[in-house]
Amino acid sequence: MKPMQRKALKKKDALWLGFVALLTLLPLAPAVAANSFHMHVVILILLFASMAQAWNIIGGYCGQVSFGHSVFFGIGAYGAGMAVVTYGGMPWPGILVGVILAAAVAVVISYPCFKLSGHYFAIATFAIVEIFNRSFLVWDWIGGALGLDYPLVKEGLMNLMWYNTKTGYYYCALILFLTIFGTVRWLEGHRFGYYMRAVREGQETAESLGVNSTAVKLAALTALCGAFFAQYNLRVDTPMVVSLDMSMKFVLITVLGGAGTLVGPLLGAAVLIPLQEYTQAFWGGLGGGVDLIIFGLLIILMVVKQPGGMIGIFHAVQKGILKRKNAAKGESADGAP
């Protein structure tokens, strides 16, 4: 059993490496590089896949459905935004401060929220987003309802800003994507990954085996990102970053792709983001929101037919093929339990 398992893992890793290589070379492809709109869509896919993956750690693997993630995302974005707009410096220190602050806020709000479980936890996180949304809107120091508009600065890695091409942003998004996916990939195979799944499947059972479920949840919660989005859009305002809409997006992308799986967030983002961007570009005259109607239908279908998400469909099909193969050989697909 063991060597076979290891071989399968290697094959999977090879697939991932190939995929990463493909992504790295993508800007060189003339069809993509020439059309900055396609590039924009690809960047957003990577970005939202990364953020959905950050949500997936606590929501998917650990089973704590949080609608509060846009708060952390927003704090990261405001960190970068304030560093550039308010203090006229480089975004980097702001990003660092934003990440630390977001982690601190996560620790603080987790204290009341983790006393709740299941639906009640989810509802509490709804409230948290609203609290932050309203407070940020009236808080003048951080730009209030007007938001922060980026000034023109010299482009380049130093300022994390580019105007002519999107290649710089693309590679930043790719690094973010690889960091977060790499982390989750590593977690999956180690103690912490098993502990998260154990907490999801049965908190009391996990505790009976010596797992401190609160610590596990807390650590899972504080995995975050967000600063990059502000840099890319060149402005930060509250409805854009700290809102239920944004939180929902992380959740829905992950659920559509397959919660609690490594590839799920990427698949979900690869469906939702093009849907969102292309419908806005081509059917914008319909009044907007067409993408959300289609996406809503997709989610309903998915939850009813295959709660495992796109990954779940993939596994079901794979199992079906295996079964047929085995049936052809004249043996049952799975032994009696």
């Binding site: 103690r191 799944r197 009976s208 010596g210 339990p337």
Partner: protein
């Protein structure tokens, strides 16, 4: 010194007294059975010892340390690990991964944990199911999984909550063999059990609870002849008739 020392533990739920000043000890290397009729407070006592409930009064000393009021994961880390009467597999995870979660308690090294989990799987005869989701196991399999998972944490004291309930007599014999093997490997066991044919032959000591109170603590042979125990199980009327019959038998 006793590995586990339960001193005057009282557990109240509002006005209901589930355990009333229960005291007993579990000696290192022994097998202690905890028995009693339904509702006697066995599982409540178990939950107090394992940190799932905080006792209203009394103290619990494990391995020289006062663990009263500790959380369940802290107690598990100290080496007192339990199984559940109502089996609680981590359903979506495979049988192997279930056991692996237990094995990760003492090590964060993957190779060590995998080896430990594989050993426990073998010991509990679960090899052929190890790649299946735990939710698909039969009830007997799930009970063995509970055992394997607890065992993987390398406990000093293993507390089993009715692992033999609902098993066929063949399965009971297998469980008894496994339990004896565990004791040989140096693990102390405390077992809550209804299946007398399972617990009586292997226990060094039996603690009997009735109505939340300890009514006997002795070797199995003595406990089954204890008047108050017979009364607890059969009721006062039948216990008297039983006693009269036995005396008749002795005379005639």
């Amino acid at each position: 010194m006793a590995l586990l020392d339960v001193r005057n533990v009282t557990m109240k739920f509002g006005e209901l007294v589930a355990n009333d000043r229960v005291s007993f000890t579990v000696e290192s290397g022994s097998i202690v059975g905890l028995i009693g009729p339904n509702g006697a407070g066995k599982t409540t006592l178990f939950n107090c010892v394992t940190g799932f409930l905080k006792p209203t009064g009394g103290a619990i000393i494990f391995d020289g340390a006062d663990i009263t009021g500790y959380t369940s994961y802290q107690i598990a880390r100290l080496g007192a690990v339990r199984t559940f009467q109502v089996v609680r597999p981590l359903e979506e995870m495979t049988v192997f991964d279930n056991v692996l979660v237990g094995a990760f308690l003492k090590t964060s090294d993957n190779r060590e944990a995998f080896a430990r989990a594989a050993d426990c799987i073998r010991l509990c005869s679960l090899e052929s199911f190890q790649e299946k989701p735990a939710g698909e196991l039969s009830i007997g399999g799930k009970k063995r999984l509970e055992l394997a998972r607890a065992l993987a944490t390398q406990p000093k004291l293993l507390m089993l909550d009715e692992v033999m309930a609902g098993l066929t007599s063949t399965e009971v014999r297998v469980s008894v063999e496994v339990i004896l093997r565990l004791r040989e490997s140096g693990i102390t066991l405390m077992i809550v059990e209804h299946v007398m044919e399972g617990i009586m032959p292997i226990a060094d000591k039996i603690v009997v609870l009735d109505g939340g109170v300890k009514i006997a603590e002795d070797a199995p042979g003595k406990v089954i002849n204890d008047d108050s125990v017979i009364e607890a199980y059969l009721g006062a009327k039948y216990a008297q008739r039983f006693k009269a019959q036995k005396e008749d038998g002795a005379r005639g």
